[in-house]
């Protein structure tokens, strides 16, 4: 089905890529930065407005893929250009298109060298990321999944901080090494699952237990690196710290979600038995990530590193929710993904605001900003409170659901995870006390309050924080059916099928 007979998903994927060509004429033309910025902003805003039509055309009572497009792409191997979204992908696509204009705005003055190339990279990246969420053919998914690495590698490596090259290469190789095993798993699935790469057809089957375990592990590495789960997370602090603000926002808000999306879309429905088998291990790793990430965050002096480790902690809540594998758990995990995208993205934007002024991210550099930058401080407090899951903000909903879901079956795990909430209050309030309160020491540079483009990038996020916090139900209802269907697919197979 297409909306108004336009293949809307194809449009969403390729519009930013093709439209980025508009920027090409301004390459290496000094004095055209304004045009470039406004063009990029315009493209992402149009993209967002068009993506809203998904919300209108979407039928929340169906669990099936909607807006389906399917064409034979490569006949050898039966590879299709197949797109479609269900409730789970819908929220992630909307989150992506919603956040991209903010990333353009946050680069308004921060990016000085080779601005056109930067904007082109951002737009190409947007297309690839939407492709990841929309692909319903496994090879197509993999193509978008890997293609994404190229612009992100350049964004970190060209526009990043002093240690950017190391961070970019580490990011690239880590993710690539993880993904390549996924490729082997995809190929093996093709032969075991009846010569198809169609994700829906591959999901409806029961595979033998040993195959499930091997394939699950191969995919697990790919997704765990992306999320990143506890022992695989070491690339994240480097990449976050070195990336420019826009890169950090995209990494934290969108790319980290892809690992979790992979678990939901592939690992759980395709290998339910292996998922149950490995659940104890993954729940343990999640709890370690929650607590350990929070402790690491407490020890950081660099604000970006602090938020990066808090991401590890918050994504631990997501994996926890996914692998308790009941409705509350998964819905909570999805909520948490969405909210982490909004809140952490906003926190990175806030750090970017400070960095643009002072070129420092050290906590010791700041203090007493409440007097100097009152509006900014207010917003920062709101985002920090949201990040520590204060009731009434968006994150509360997700974490609460996950904890309820996990408490039903894994009371110990759930109680341990709750300490994460307390710890997150500690490091975020510590951050606030260092930056917002205290005494303002006069600096050699001006610290003006928010500029127009910064208003533009932060206000929509504040609105989302509060709206989702108070009215989570409209969002939950978007993916309720899809999650219910997923949980249904997770029922353990009859024993006879397991031993074939």
């Amino acid at each position: 089905m297409t909306f108004l007979s336009v293949p809307i998903l194809t449009f969403l994927i390729f519009f930013p890529v093709v439209a980025s060509l508009l920027i090409l004429p301004f390459y290496k033309k000094p004095g055209t930065e304004g045009v470039v910025k406004w063009t990029a902003l315009g493209i992402t805003v149009i993209e967002f407005l068009v993506s809203l039509s998904l919300l209108i055309g979407n039928n929340p009572h169906l669990y099936q893929m909607q807006f389906v497009e399917n064409h034979l792409w490569i006949p050898f191997g039966n590879i299709h250009y197949a797109l479609g979204i269900d409730g789970i992908s819908l929220v992630l696509v909307l989150m992506t298109t919603f956040l991209m204009p903010m990333t353009i705005l946050t680069s308004w003055v921060g990016i000085s060298k080779n601005l056109p190339l930067f904007m082109i990279n951002l737009l190409v990246l947007e297309g690839a990321m939407i492709g990841v969420f929309c692909a319903t053919d496994f090879v197509l998914f993999y193509v978008f999944w890997e293609a994404m690495l190229i612009p992100m590698y350049l964004i970190i490596g060209v526009w990043g901080g002093p240690n950017r090259i190391y961070a970019a290469i580490k990011f690239f190789l880590y993710t690539l090494a993880g993904s390549l095993l996924l490729l082997v798993a995809i190929i093996a699935l093709y032969f075991v699952g009846g010569h198809t790469f169609d994700i829906a057809r591959l999901s409806g089957q029961h595979y033998g237990m040993s195959f499930q375990i091997l394939a699950f592990l191969a995919m697990f590495v790919a997704f765990a690196v992306k999320i990143p789960m506890f022992p695989f997370h070491t690339w994240l602090p480097d990449a976050h710290v070195e990336a420019p603000t826009a890169g950090s926002v995209i990494l934290a808000s969108i790319m980290l979600k892809m690992g979790a999306y992979g678990f939901l879309r592939f690992s759980l429905p395709m290998f339910p038995d292996a998922s149950h088998f490995f659940a104890p291990m993954i729940l343990t790793l999640s709890v370690i990530a929650i607590i350990w990430g929070a402790f690491m965050a407490l020890a950081q002096e660099d604000m970006k590193k602090l938020i990066a480790y808090s991401s590890v902690s918050h994504m631990g809540v997501v994996t926890l929710g996914i692998f308790v594998a009941n409705t509350q758990g998964i819905e909570g995990a999805l909520m948490q993904m969405l909210n982490h995208g909004i809140t952490t993205g906003a926190l990175f934007l806030c750090i970017g605001v400070l960095y643009d002024r002072s070129h420092s991210r050290q906590l010791s550099e700041y203090g007493g900003l409440a007097k100097q930058m009152p509006v900014y401080s207010t917003l920062l407090v709101i985002f920090a409170l949201s990040s520590l899951a204060l009731p009434g903000t968006n994150s509360f909903v997700g974490e609460f659901l996950v904890l309820i879901g996990s408490f039903k079956t894994h009371a110990v795990v759930s109680s341990l995870a709750t300490t994460g909430v307390i710890l997150s209050a500690m490091y975020l309030l510590y951050l606030l006390s260092r930056v917002v309160w205290g005494v303002y020491t006069p600096k050699s540079y001006a610290m003006p309050d928010l500029r127009a483009y910064e208003w533009g990038s932060l206000i929509p996020l504040v609105v989302m924080v509060i709206v989702i916090g108070i009215l989570p139900n409209p969002v939950l209802s978007l993916f309720h059916q899809s999650v219910a269907h997923l949980v249904g697919q997770m029922q353990p197979a009859p024993l006879a099928l397991l031993h074939n």
């Binding site: 293609a147 950017r164 190789l173 090494a177 190929i187």
Partner: protein
Amino acid sequence: MNFSPVNIMGTMPEIYLTVLGCLLFLMEPFVPAKKRSLLGVFAIFSLVFAMIATFGLNGKGLPLYQGLYIVDPFSNFFKTVIYLGTIITILFSLPYLEKEEIHLGEYYGFLLFAAVGMMIMVSAGDLITLFLGIELMSLCLYVLVGLKRNSNRSVEASFKYFLLGAFAAAIFLYGISLLYGASGTETLSGLAQFVANPGALRPMVLAGMILTMVGFAFKVSAAPFHMWTPDVYEGAPTVVTGFMASVGKVAAFGVFLRVFWVAFSANRDHWSLLIITAAILSMIVGNIVALVQTNIKRMLAYSSIGHAGYAVIALLNPSRDSLFALMFYMFAYLFMTLGAFGIILILRRKGIEAEEISDFVGLNKKNPMAAFLMLIFMFSLAGIPPFGGFLAKFYVFMAAVHAGYTWLAVVGVLLSAVGAYYYIRVVMAMYMKDPVEPVEFMPNRMEGMALFVTAGMTVLLGVFPLPFVHYIETSLAILVP
């Protein structure tokens, strides 16, 4: 031998190219030095002419000259690839030879004869014909590698290549003689019959088979017979390196595949272990030694050893999957390798060829187009989508999994993650560092066209491969049982 019209017609493309190549040699003294590029244009037209003749022979698997020569869709596919590769090479050669002051008219003649040698290789239905093809190609390449007569490196490379090549040829010939001694025939179909018969696996046949495999492994530069590759690739004029690394390798793979699938498919169990060993060794040597190279031609030499490792995986199991994988791999590999060498030979520092990786530092600042094209080739060689190199690797791994070698696919992907590092190191140098020394990148119209074609095909093969997939599928119909 019977020179009936059918036989003559079937070998028309080779005859055209041989005659036109001779004509080139004859014309050379009469063409003034300033107009030598006309000879290049003449060579291009000869190739186009031969290509049309090949398309005219829509080959039905005809064994010509009593089975000495086979014209089938498989060989026609490889011939088309050889034509395309040679044409692109000539487009790169014209300005390059001028700048290097080695613009000799004979160059084009040797290039055409090398192409004829390759065509004979991929069409050979008989080991002696095959040997003639290999030698014709190799002799031309020995000369071309040493084209820079006043460069020590070039002469050394030529000499090294010649000595080791002669060695490999001798080993290969010895293998043929053992096979002939055991079976009394040297046609591929005759050998196939002989090998299939259960009592035939005498040590002599096995020894002959292994020796021929050594000869092929040398030609495709698969480890452990790769030693010559880095030195020769580094020393040869870059345009010749590109030609050898791409077209020469494609032809060698074509014949490697035909001999082992047609003649020796019956005792696959005896040679699959050798192929696996060669594949793993090549992937390890290629990907790991490339990490420490500073000269980009040497780096690409090791990369080509690594790629040989991936491609030989497709030889393991005679099936449609594997055949398709190998042909697609060769097709994609041709364009990305030629393109990468094309960038190297156009790039100049103070008028000298820039062949160190450090010469690429900050290229994006100075010349964004060159940097972007190199980025395409590097990511494609690394096997990152959406470029042709990704699908090529994908199909090879698919063939491996289908043949039951999942573990080999796992080894392959892990080593390709290692290999990705040295490709993205080039991208890093171009984009993430500031230029130190100015390099110039001024392609003329012909070079521009060649780069456009190679880069365009590299992207197209990854994004919209449909027409090429159809073409390859029609070409593989006959060989597979």
